[in-house]
Point group: C2
Chain length 377, copies 2
């Protein structure tokens, strides 16, 4: 069993997840490296410095460029990027449904046009597994339909059923690929994804069904796509009792520091989000007192670090005034330092959450920080 539950406080879980690429202390944040590179010019070696545990890469992007066969020929994502810790790859599904053009869905899979050059691509459960096997990630995600929000109950129900059928095909294909002689990672893990839009009964039904399939982990997908945060929290609370207790749980694409604290509060173990790097680009930097906008005039002569309570490589060395200048002057270094700080903040947030769980003080941590960290100051 890769997941071990160490301690619980309410629904919140302190655990660890053992993989061939190292053990992940949970709850954990996965650092997004879409095209096998962190935004802001961070390398895999930089990830170590900002206390990252897991890197996440996007199957769709890597399939298009450089091509997953090239990554396989280079020995897989670990050798390619030089990140030796766990890597999770998504299934490509989310991008097929959000980025690709002119898509047609059938029982077999999805045909769509590349957003780069328009060429026609087919991806179904088997193709997604084959690509992820080529990438050699630690954890592969099942290929699912990410239904648009809002959707009709009817559409969501049919889509859920298809996603469940696709999941079984993913499992079978993954089992086959892992035993191939050329397998990049013969120990590749597979997570299933819960769907069902914002319909609680569909969500619960679907989770009950896929819980039976004995996967290495369970994700909740299709949330944080525009619905109010309260709706998301309600759905997490609704499906949580039906997710296997002895398996890791991953809330996909979430979210703000407050969202993450609420997710942990409801029993989630893993997160990922582009927010730390996307916000960094706009000068929005996370601190333990809330979010600052470094481009603000008041930081023009501010010699203090982004966050006086932060000991990241950026806060140990550079002033707000310098980072403000770099961002105003569109210097790449401004983006790099901002991303580095924000990602460190997220990884460190998870450390503090784990500490609080270890000490039995997570409720207090939750109450202190859940709103504060999301507030613009």
């Amino acid at each position: 069993m890769p997941y071990r539950l160490i301690k619980q406080e309410g629904a919140a879980r302190r655990g660890e997840f053992v993989t061939v690429h190292g053990t992940v202390q949970t709850p954990a944040f996965q650092n997004v490296a879409t095209a096998a590179a962190i935004k802001g010019g961070l390398s895999a070696l930089d990830l170590k410095e900002i206390r990252a545990q897991v890197m996440l890469c996007n199957t769709y992007h890597l399939h298009l460029r450089p091509g997953d066969q090239i990554v396989a020929d280079m020995g897989g994502l670990h050798k390619f990027t030089r990140w030796d810790g766990p890597i999770l790859t998504d299934s490509g599904g989310f991008q097929v449904f959000s980025l690709a053009k002119l898509r047609q869905i059938t029982e077999e899979g999805v045909t769509f046009n590349s957003h780069l050059d328009g060429h026609r691509i087919f991806m179904g459960p088997e193709q997604s597994m084959q690509i992820q096997a080529n990438l050699g990630s630690t954890i592969a995600m099942a290929f699912d339909e990410c239904v648009e929000n809002p959707a009709t109950y009817e559409y969501a129900k049919n889509s859920c059923a298809r996603t469940a059928r696709w999941l079984l095909r993913c499992k079978a294909e993954m089992a086959r690929l892992k035993h191939e002689e050329k397998a990049v990672n013969p120990d590749q893990l597979l997570f299933g994804i819960n769907q069902g839009c914002t319909f609680k009964d569909l969500r619960v039904e679907h989770m009950k069904q896929i819980a039976e399939y004995d996967l290495d982990g369970y994700a909740i997908g299709g949330l944080a796509v525009g619905e109010p945060a309260e709706v998301m929290y309600d759905i997490i609370s609704a499906v949580e009792p039906y997710a296997p207790k002895d398996k890791i749980r991953y809330l996909m694409g979430v979210g703000t520091p407050g969202n993450i604290i609420e997710g942990v509060y409801r029993g989630v173990d893993l997160f990922d989000c582009v927010m730390p790097s996307r916000n960094a680009r706009h000068g929005h930097l996370f601190t333990w007192n809330g979010i600052i906008n470094i481009k603000n005039l008041k930081y023009e002569r501010d010699e203090s670090p982004i966050d006086p309570h932060c000991d990241c490589p950026v806060c140990r060395n550079f002033s707000r005034a310098y980072i403000r200048h770099l961002q105003k002057a569109d210097e790449m270094l401004g983006m790099r330092l901002a991303v580095m700080h924000n990602l460190y903040f997220y990884n460190h947030l998870m450390e503090r959450i784990r500490e609080a769980l270890d000490n039995g003080t997570f409720q207090q941590f939750h109450d202190t920080y859940v709103h504060r960290l999301d507030t613009r100051i």
Copy 2:
């Protein structure tokens, strides 16, 4: 005397240059950080890793943004950027003549429009010194007119005379500023700049004249602006005998590895150039066998480092295939790794030149590498 000549081989000089911010082993390359940041997201801390000795910042850019008064309020460029080694600032002259719009030159100085927002600015010798004093650089450059190439003999002659008059005003203003109580760097050094277009007699005459002014160093400016390399080499050879032997010599804005080797060959001690970072952006990477284009298809599956003979942080870790992918995908990391390698190559080239001078084998080094390093392979 800040400069000490250690050894000579022909005209080539092995020396060292002592400053309050550390001793520079010469010949040396100055790493360009235009707006107080190296291109490609490199910080001052990264400069240490790529064996940089000197950082160079641009007065014109920093005067416009963030403003030199802000840098002074932050304690000067060293505190602002966290680079604790020597920093040279140019005079702003080159940018006034290449970037700014609608300029008018008088005996007093130059009035021009900011290239950022068009606002009207006046800069003369005193203003340039005041700005550089605010920046607190280790070495300030005299304010000169960078005459366009080609220019008439008459124009070049008059301009030279004015640049010499400006130089005396720079020296007087610098002496005054260094003794002010609020001086950021009371030990700031001043280099004069030789001009005279491609007219050898004007160049020699001007060098003879400014050699009398007892400055901390002498630069050759206004070269590498479109004239053939042979013309540049001839001018260096012509003025070299008239540059004070006991002062450091700096060839501004030069150049390719081959240009630098030829410059050292003719008695130059200091160089700077944007070529390492500019070439990196286009995928042109320096190696000890010549210049490769990393975007070339032949590197798609190439597991070897950029240069197997290089031990820079990039070559120690990443493959050509990975860097090619990053550059093709426009990932910031692709730019960062390429700049890091190219700058390391330049700093390491200077190390090898110094080694050759130490060993009395510089002629051989020159003959082996002067063409090879500039060849596209």
